[in-house]
Symmetry: C2
Subunit: 438 residues, 2 copies
């Protein structure tokens, strides 16, 4: 075959698609139980929407193109700019808090040889329109509820939580000038990706007088109380940062998710627009990229030249979490199943069999039949291959007594049922789990 | 606000997204009851996949771009090439028939000023790996089952069915040389779009000796029997075309969908790769583009340099059908609803209220609360605004007697319930439809 799937992109055959749908539906369902509403945006946006906050440098990381009118567009690399644009456009009419989620596909112009994906699904959950840390706690809690539902525990994953104002106060306590804070965040975000020597070199450019060891020992202060004491010593701003963080930490306890969380000053996140708490989820045992990253962004809509609307949220890609679930044996068995396979005892019954197929489908059952006219035994083995729960045989009994043969393919039990009762309301005859839940 | 949604693209706010999800889920559910399995492909493909069968001319209708490795890609304008590529790549291992559906987003570089969409969702349903007309009948039947479920009847919509071999024989009977058949199909497909004079002019180029009136009167022969008699007079090929069409027509009756269908020779469909039956769905009363178009394509995988795998399928865009459903008042009421809104009687109960919120969410209920601490009456009106079915008040009764106040916001009824019973298994206390089906 000459034509292939483009590098870094994925074909989802039914087998892979079942896993994908299971994940997407679980993300959707958990979001909905938390009262989040779903939204979507266009797959590509004006390129400016991404360059306005990151500069032209970001263009090389995007797939961009022009239309015949020479407008410049880019495939979306993240959802937050679209979200901020949409919310800002209706800022005055949307009831607060704005609790929204989305399940978009995203695109990044990664080098294909590194095996990184150029297209992926991403669960996005955001609360806009409030400064209250309850919003930050809720977005963290919805992520953790998803983890619980897939069977991951605090032994498997860790939600590392920090705060940019807290981290800034700690850096200040080391002697880093406030104007260098963002640059220091940018470097810290790449701590795990850089060679120690390279990290040291870049650090010495940002803070020539401060040793790398001093920085790291300060950041590794795992004790929250010690750290916040230090932060409070930085004056009123430090006090506020410490108060807000403690409030968030307590809300995580109220929501019953604190045992998944730890305080970790080394988490700063790469995006420039974060202004408050930041967090990321990592697997404890497996060498995977962050499973999820997020934080508070109170100035983003202003960066896009809209009104100020505070917000907090996260994005979780599909690939790392599926990898973790596969590695820990937590993917469910999702082989496709039919409710009923309809068999014709002889070719002359085929038109009647088709009517029965259609009646069962209309009753909500997943129902199929053999396209080929072949012996009953071959039709039965086709039913088995398709993992059908029941087989219905259309034969002489239908003509003579208006009855159908119903066979439970799990137990082998077989009986005759009244065709009219069965076709009017098959559910009580088939018992629970038929029709199966999608 | 400086930034806008790109022209021809759509923002789906929660209100629109609910409609979109309703449509997508119904497409999915109907497909599944027919035994179709879901697949997906990459949002962009190598550009060659589209030019190989349509020539470089198609590039102007696509959004295309290159990556840093100078590979040329295009956003997918239709799903069938991806499907053919995926099936051809695993031709030997996929059990037949291959019954697949997909709900992809598609892209066309339409001129934005015409108000046509540049991005849309499309329901794709295909059967590959069989020549049998039962496959053609099933894909038509699954579309019609969807129409039934949204409440559209044969008075609203019409599935116009034809066949390229039948149409070719009719054109031959008029004296059109076989080498001009495809050109004639291309022109006929634009019959509704061209001015009569322009149609006449182009027709005279294809068939100089044959009047336009003769063509149209022949094509408007609505009578299937008369038409097939004519087709049979064209020899063995005509006989086979007529036999196959009659077989399809009877299968549509067996599947109980023939009353939605009519025979219409003027349907030829624009795509060059169709080889057998072709069909499109049109609204009777409303001036809309075709709601759905499809047909049999037995040579497509060969055109892509793979093995021969016959196939038949259709694509149905989201925009025209949603327009028709809106115009005929058939869109469901989909205002978002909560199951339970949890209210704290006083601020000191807020942490307990949060625990209760989380317990209810974990039980699968859609549950929310006020981010602001405010009087109970204000929290009740927030619950009403969110269209919650129930409100739960967390107050003194919880501390004193481990009870919660449960209020049905539809009926106004109110009672005290045991907190432990309610939180362990809320469903029997709340009654049917709680948790609501997504």
């Amino acid at each position: 075959m000459k034509f292939q799937c483009p590098p870094g992109m994925r074909d989802f055959y039914p087998e892979q698609m079942r896993v994908q749908r299971w994940l997407l539906e679980l993300w959707r369902q958990v979001s909905r139980t938390f009262g989040f509403e779903e939204y979507e945006g266009p797959t590509f946006e004006f390129l400016d929407l991404y360059t306005v906050k990151s500069g032209e440098g970001i263009v090389s990381e995007l797939f961009s193109f022009t239309d015949r009118g020479d407008r410049r567009f880019a495939l979306r690399p993240e959802m937050t700019p679209t979200l901020a644009r949409m919310v800002a456009a209706k800022a005055s009419s949307l009831p607060r808090p704005i609790k929204w989620f989305s399940l978009p596909r995203m695109f990044r112009a990664e080098k294909p040889q590194r095996g990184r994906l150029r297209e992926f699904y991403q669960w996005n959950v955001d609360v806009l329109g409030t400064d209250d840390v309850i919003a930050d706690a809720e977005v963290i809690a919805v992520a953790i509820e998803f983890l619980r539902q897939v069977g991951l525990s605090p032994q498997d994953v860790l939600m590392r939580v920090s705060s940019r104002p807290v981290a800034a106060a700690v850096l200040e306590s080391l002697g880093i000038a406030p104007e260098n804070t963002l640059r220091a965040f940018g470097l810290l975000d790449r701590f795990d990706k850089l060679e120690p020597e390279e990290f040291r070199r870049q650090w010495s450019e940002i803070a020539p007088g401060i040793s790398c060891e001093a920085l790291l020992s300060r950041l590794e202060t795992a004790d929250l109380d010690d750290c916040l004491k230090l932060v409070r010593s930085a004056g009123p701003q430090g006090d506020e940062a410490a108060d807000q963080f403690i409030k968030l930490w307590n809300r995580l306890a109220d929501l019953g998710v604190q045992q998944f969380c730890c305080f970790d000053l080394k988490v700063v996140r790469g995006l420039a627009y974060y202004t408050g708490p930041v967090f990321e989820l990592t697997a404890r045992q497996h060498q995977l990229r962050a499973l999820l990253g997020g934080g508070r962004y109170d100035n983003l809509t202003e960066l896009l030249e809209g009104p100020r609307i505070p917000g907090v949220g996260f994005g979780m890609g599909d690939a790392p979490i599926l990898e973790l679930l596969a590695a820990t044996g937590k993917l469910p068995d999702l082989a496709d199943e039919l409710d009923v396979f309809v068999i014709d005892a002889a070719e002359e019954y085929f038109p009647r069999a088709l009517q029965i197929v259609q009646a069962l489908r209309r009753a909500g059952l997943t129902c199929d039949f053999s396209y080929r006219r072949q012996p009953v035994s071959k039709q039965f083995s086709q039913a088995q291959k398709r993992r059908s729960r029941y087989a219905v045989v259309v034969g002489d009994e239908l003509i003579q007594r208006n009855q159908l043969t119903l066979k439970n393919l799990r137990t082998g039990e077989q009986c005759l049922v009244s065709a009219s009762n069965f076709l009017t309301d098959p559910a009580p005859i088939l018992g629970p789990n038929c029709p199966r839940q999608p």
